[in-house]
Symmetry: C2
Subunit: 315 residues, 2 copies
């Protein structure tokens, strides 16, 4: 059994080409080749814990991922996200590896999924990238978009000047031109590739400002009570893509939009089917598309086994 | 974060008085002071995995336990059970300890629960102990019964001579007089404290031989398709005790007996309520009682925190 520390994971990650692995995971998932039971959830006084687990029939491992969010942690000088991943043998049940990633692999696979959504769903000509939120996911999403769009012009929305200027200071040197705003209407007005990354519990983006030719990826909402998008945005969209339809019926923007009767289950398309060519993605530059990413265990499986395999090559 | 190895756990366990901790866990659970979500389950080609997790409001930790059974493992020279436990802070979500117990703590807390069931439910005068099965749990249950009954006369049932004689050789030196049989009717005939420990999928004990004044603890069945007891045994019992009523409605002997319309949910009593005095246990030497132990996350929480606390004292 091999323990892989956060420091080792940080060394390994840049060497990995994660997009093909995670795309393959989504395709296998949508083709029914993955076993992914419902997400386990533990709600505590100060935080929440999600347990995601499953396996692909053709792979040697099954993966159990524990990820937590304790939103008071920053006041204690600790990151709000935490977690680890466990790899076990499908043949014997033996523990193969513990990846002490402290949530980094979850953050990374979420950002990679955002890049995949943009690759298949964003308009070809991205005018300006809109990022809603200033936290770790707001940073990683933008970094991972570098590989799928040439656009480097960014408008970021945040709740305070301090967070916004820190975001600009940190992300500007990575090659982006960063504008800031505290009004999401400005994002809707000037950006045609928008990523929302907050734990908001009421909509931040209103349908009023929605432009033709916009793609929005929502990654913040991973629980039934969270919502970043006005449900009417999904109702207005030509294309609503779920990372997992079954999961999005229970949590996330799609859950909210179905509750609000803006969309029906039959309207949904799964990301793996778009990637695999079984379902249509964006058909022209004028369509409005929304991708709702609640996070699927196949992403965890793919990133965990990629890191583990790389570590055994170098170990 | 502290990693506790199997070797360290083996050193620590004998120093622990686990019965009070696990009894307290059952009492808290039945009093509604524990948060224990439904068991997560992963069914693979060669085995099955259960994820049990939860917390007690008054404790500093929450616990996630992963336990697997891969029944072809012995042919590969590996134990069939495996697993680990994880302790996290309820305050911050930080990983506090990884207990690499390889299933030993699950085996132990199950045996302790069997001893607790016998303490509260077995007749005062145990004539002979009947053990159904010859595996690890058949051994641990008997060892843990030492503290709750003076009886040392044992009849063990198994499927083969080799297993039975190994059981006798191993358990005799621990102070027991071990008889063996390949006919469960002999167990029913001569034993009034019976523990069933197999992964059987059809009943091993038939109602025909059921005697007055018998207590049976069933620990083998932890999944809907498993069954060790004729459902009519539960129908005939004066007292049917569940470790967790909600869990036993979905898996185990009680699930089977309700499906067979031998008992109703209203007939059930929870072990923690018997321990805590809120429900009646055995009232006389003539009653027939059955305890169905499917394994509850509070047991895992209690044994994991007991081991962790002891390790920090000695560490």
């Amino acid at each position: 059994m091999q323990i892989i520390t956060l420091a080792q994971i940080k060394d390994i990650l840049p060497a990995l080409d994660l997009m093909p692995a995670i795309e393959a995971g989504f395709v296998a998932y949508s083709a029914g080749q993955a076993v992914v039971p419902p997400v386990g959830e533990l709600l505590l006084d100060k935080g929440e814990v999600h347990i995601k687990y499953g396996f692909l029939h053709d792979e040697p491992y099954y993966v159990i991922k524990i990820a937590s969010g304790f939103y008071g942690n920053p006041q204690l000088g600790l990151p709000s996200s935490n977690g680890l991943m466990l790899l076990f043998s499908q043949r014997t049940g033996e523990l193969v590896s513990i990846l002490l990633d402290e949530g980094m692999l979850t953050d990374t696979r979420t950002a990679v999924a955002g890049a995949i959504a943009a690759k298949y769903l964003a308009p070809k000509r991205v005018r300006r990238i809109g990022i809603v939120g200033t936290g770790i996911q707001a940073r990683l999403q933008l970094q991972h978009l570098k590989g799928v769009t040439a656009c480097r012009d960014v408008l970021v929305w945040g709740r305070g000047d301090a967070q916004l200027s820190r975001y600009r200071q940190d992300m500007g040197p990575l090659g982006f031109t960063i504008g800031t705003t505290q009004d999401t209407a400005e994002i809707m007005d000037s950006c045609n590739l928008i990523v929302t990354t907050t734990p908001a519990e009421s909509p931040l983006l209103e349908v009023a400002g929605l432009q033709r030719g916009t793609h929005i990826t929502a990654v913040g909402s991973d629980a039934p009570h969270k919502q970043e998008l006005d449900a009417a945005i999904l109702g207005r969209a030509d294309l609503v893509v779920a990372d997992s339809i079954s999961q999005c019926l229970e949590r996330g923007e799609i859950y909210q939009a179905i509750e609000a009767r803006e969309i029906r289950e039959a309207d949904l398309v799964e990301l793996g089917d778009v990637i695999g060519g079984k379902a249509k993605g964006r058909e022209d530059e004028e369509q409005i598309s929304v991708a709702d990413l609640t996070g699927v265990a196949v992403q965890d499986m793919q990133i965990a086994s990629s890191v583990y395999k790389e570590s055994t090559i170098n170990g």
